[in-house]
């Protein structure tokens, strides 16, 4: 039993990371109908930024986090302008490809600038964690879970209770209609990218002490996060979270009880099963027919 609980905790921890990245995917998808293959690299950038600021420049953590988040906000805007905006009317394929290109550019750009050696970011806390009975609660994992809960709540409040949030929702549901109602669609999309970028960066900051910071860290998370968002119901915010957590747990249990080398396969097998039998995921709307 103790082992199962430990696996559950770790699974939820990893799952929260998938959830945070999936959240970024889903938001961009809802606003623009496009999948951003570079979403994982936002996390990578956030993590590297922390390394540069806190290790190389030896700034205190709180300052490093602040600067990183601001930098990611700016980056989100730039990303929108360079990668999405010029292609916004061209259908989803060119954008998918363009984001793949962006992903390669980002990863290799950082590689060229920083070198391939993986970096460490020490944990934010000096204490590693604590044990309750047979289960060890890693402090960083606890932080991730906590931050995810807070982010989701804040986000919910923003989208449901503020005017700006509702405008963004409107844009994501029907661009034309929103524009007819006087909502500046391009601005709303810009805000979506900015927020998603910061979200990705935040995921990177949180996960850096656990996974170590390397150029490829983003892509490996991104695919799983993408799968998670489909399992949860593509386009649904709650779905992204639940899907991410579920995926983390399934993966961890699968690795422990079935096979460790095939761990990655579980995520994708579950995904394929969902796509075949329930493509709308757990929470999504029925995959709509076009008019």
């Amino acid at each position: 039993m103790g082992i199962a609980l430990q696996l559950l905790f770790t699974g939820l921890g990893i799952g929260s990371i998938y959830a945070l990245v999936a959240l970024g995917f889903v938001l961009i998808y809802r606003a623009t109908n496009v999948v951003n293959f570079a979403q994982g690299d936002f996390a990578m950038l956030g993590a590297f930024s922390m390394v540069v600021l806190c290790i190389d420049l030896e700034l205190p953590y709180w300052l490093g986090i602040l600067i990183t988040l601001v930098a990611m906000l700016v980056f989100g805007a730039l990303f929108n302008l360079a990668v999405y905006y010029p292609l916004r009317n061209r259908g989803f394929q060119p954008v998918i490809i363009s984001t793949i290109g962006a992903s390669i550019l980002l990863e290799n750009g950082v590689l060229a600038g920083y070198g391939p050696r993986p970096q460490t970011l020490p944990s934010f806390f000096s204490f590693q964690g604590f044990s309750v009975g047979p289960i060890f609660f890693d402090s960083q994992y606890l932080l991730i879970l906590g931050v995810t809960v807070v982010m989701v709540t804040l986000q919910y409040l923003f989208f449901e209770r503020t005017l700006l949030g509702k405008k963004m929702q409107a844009t994501s549901q029907d661009k034309e209609m929103a524009s007819l109602l006087g909502i500046p669609v391009a601005l709303m999309i810009m805000l979506t990218f900015i927020y998603s970028s910061a979200l990705g960066g935040l995921a990177g900051i949180l996960v850096a002490p656990i996974l170590f910071v390397s150029v490829g860290m983003g892509s490996s998370i991104a695919l799983k996060a993408f799968a998670a968002s489909i399992i949860g119901g593509f386009g649904d915010v709650t779905g992204a979270i639940v899907g991410g957590l579920a995926l983390g747990v399934v993966e961890t249990f699968g690795a422990a009880y079935i096979s460790v080398p095939y761990k990655d396969a579980f995520a994708f097998i579950v995904l394929v099963v969902f796509l075949l039998f329930r493509p709308q995921g757990l929470f999504g709307e029925k995959v709509a027919e076009k008019a």
Binding site: S98, A102, I104, L223, F234, L275, P279
Partner: protein
């Protein structure tokens, strides 16, 4: 009236690009490139490079079919490549098969897997397909790496044998390269020919306008699955040849990154053309070699280049060159000789005014919204039946149900005496229902004539037999709407009014028993509208049965034999025009309760 009457149909002047001349050029070039590795003393470096390029190009041609022609994304081409490679490797090394059976097995395995993957996931589009292909890719990698007893795992498989044909061995690299180049040429030519075949046109129709393709008679699902299977087949072929070329393979060569490479090769060169595939492959294999001096940054440059390409050159380099060529040397307006008249009604058409389309208690709900609410409608043969109503009354929804685009919530449909309620769009086209759309849905990348041909190729179109027959029939349809001269133009260069006419011609080419016209007058100016009315009258004069939606009453008045009026999804009137248009409820629906007559 032009183009009719003459019973001696002269063959329309067929245009070959340059007939025998270009064929000879191709054969000559092919022979040269195949012979080159045998004759020239190439270093091992160039041999290896070209071997990689030619086998990759075969795989990229698969993407030309599925992505370029059919518009479906496939992010697992490296997996199919890997299936082919492993079949050859395991076949020759572990099972002792000769090269050719192992290669054949590889092609079959890749195709079967591709077909299964396609059958299961092509019902979902876009992102879902991308995800399934990525997942398959990842799972295959894991299997190749971890099922060590079968695949030898990450050690890979060395010592792959090269083929022997009647004692002639291909072991020498130059000879093997010549083989690869020969295969590449054959595949490339086939892929090129495919574009101008019926299947190729169907693929392009699916890509350009999936919805219209189905309505016009293309079995969309089947076309997509065929395209996907062909792509997998070529991936397997390329992979098998690759294994024989490098004589050593390991799982890390067939991962997602490689699929991205294949995809980028297709896009860079131009996904829509086999030349593009070859060009993209050559560039992306040679570029890193030329860029070796950039050593550290070239991959980053390459990623940035992909973005720039998508923004500025989405059709890839070849597509860019094509567009340039079209701008500089636009296709001339081509005169056409005498054209056989279009047989608008089939030989066994009945002229008795009986009911051809019956709509019983049809409802279509979207959640709580009742877009169509228990509508009854009967269309008689050889009449023009109009469906009118204010905006949002459910006209287009009803038409979409008739086309098979929506499934009705309740109710039944009968066409020509048979129940069609459950039929798919292309099946309805096969029964003789033709349709045009409110916002013109032509296949933008094909020429005007090709668009019409797609219409003529609808299943069960008994008037068109053989490819010349089909082309003639299409030409006749085009001639009927007086656009024959513009047949070689791209659709985009046509004026809006001409596009509408072209769409009608496409529907006519399918020899429809019933023609559904959705707001044919929308967006037309007064002159164009009066021309449209003339056209409708001509069609009516030929005995065609038409169901037309329009909100322009004055247009409808001039041609309709019967009018049905919808409001808020319900039928509020049905009868001859004179009667319906005076109905106070109808007037109220259109104009509110104001009695003044406002010009539409």
């Amino acid at each position: 009236m032009s183009g009719i009457v003459s019973s001696e149909a002269h063959k329309p002047p067929t245009e070959h690009r340059s007939g025998h001349g270009s064929g000879f050029l191709i054969v000559f070039t092919a022979a040269m490139t195949v012979a080159a590795p045998l004759l020239l003393p190439l270093t091992a470096y160039y041999l290896n490079l070209l071997m990689q390029a030619s086998t990759y190009a075969v795989a990229v041609l698969g993407l030309t079919i599925v992505l370029g022609y059919t518009g479906q994304i496939n992010l697992a081409q490296a997996a199919f490549f890997g299936l082919g490679a492993y079949s050859v490797a395991l076949g020759t090394v572990s099972f002792g098969l000769p090269f050719w059976p192992a290669l054949f097995a590889g092609i079959v395995i890749a195709s079967v897997v591709g077909a299964v993957l396609g059958l299961t996931s092509l019902r979902l589009g876009g992102h879902y397909l991308a995800m399934v292909t990525i997942s398959f890719q990842q799972i295959l990698m894991l299997v190749l790496t971890n099922w060590i007893s079968l695949t030898r795992g990450p050690d890979g498989i060395p010592g792959i044998a090269r083929p022997i044909v009647f004692g002639f061995s291909f072991a020498e690299s130059g000879t093997y390269l010549a083989l690869c180049v020969a295969v590449l040429w054959v595949v490339g030519l086939c892929v090129g020919r495919l574009k101008h075949s019926k299947l190729g046109r169907a693929m392009q129709a699916v890509r350009d306008n999936e919805l219209a393709a189905g309505v016009v008679g293309v079995d969309v699902y089947r076309t997509k699955v065929i395209a996907f299977t062909l792509c997998a087949l070529l991936g397997g072929l390329g992979g098998g040849l690759f294994a024989g070329g490098f004589t050593y393979i390991s799982p890390d060569q067939f991962g997602f990154a490689e699929s991205v490479v294949f995809l980028t090769m297709a896009l860079l060169g131009g996904a829509r053309s086999p030349f593009g595939a070859a060009l993209g492959t050559a560039l992306l294999i040679l570029l890193p070699e030329w860029l070796r001096f950039l050593k550290v940054t070239y991959l980053a440059v390459y990623g940035g280049a992909v973005i720039l390409l998508m923004v500025f050159m989405p059709e890839g380099i070849w597509g860019f060159l094509e567009t340039l060529r079209q701008r500089l040397w636009p296709l001339a307006v081509l005169p056409v000789g005498r054209v056989a008249p279009l047989p608008l009604t089939t030989k066994v058409a009945r002229e008795d005014g009986s009911i051809i389309l019956e709509v019983n208690q049809l409802s279509k709900h979207f959640g709580g919204l009742k877009a169509v609410d228990e509508v009854e409608l009967s269309v008689r043969r050889n009449t023009v039946h109009a469906l009118v109503g204010p905006n949002g009354s459910g006209k287009t929804t009803l038409l979409n149900v008739l086309s098979g685009i929506y499934k009705p919530t309740n109710g039944r449909l009968f066409f020509d005496g048979q129940a069609v309620t459950r039929l798919l769009p292309h099946e309805r086209a096969g029964r003789g229902i033709g349709r045009t759309f409110q916002n013109v849905r032509l296949f933008t990348a094909m020429s005007v004539l090709e668009n019409i041909i797609v219409g003529a190729e609808r299943p069960g179109n008994e008037v068109a037999v053989g490819s010349t027959g089909v082309e003639q029939h299409a030409l006749a349809a085009l001639d009927f709407v007086r656009l024959a001269e513009l047949r070689k133009q791209t659709v985009q260069s046509l004026s809006y009014g001409h596009q509408r006419l072209a769409e009608i011609a496409r529907a006519l080419a399918g020899s429809p028993k019933l023609l559904l016209l959705d707001e044919p007058g929308a967006g037309l100016n007064t002159v164009e509208k009066s021309e449209l009315v003339q056209l409708l009258k001509r069609l009516k004069g030929h005995g065609l049965t038409i169901l037309v939606i329009d909100h322009d009453i004055s247009l409808v008045e001039q041609v309709a034999d019967r009018i049905t009026v919808l409001n808020f999804g319900r039928r509020i009137a049905d009868g001859p025009p004179a009667e319906v248009l005076c109905n106070p409820e109808v007037v109220a629906a259109f104009l509110g309760n104001v009695k003044t007559h406002v010009a539409p």
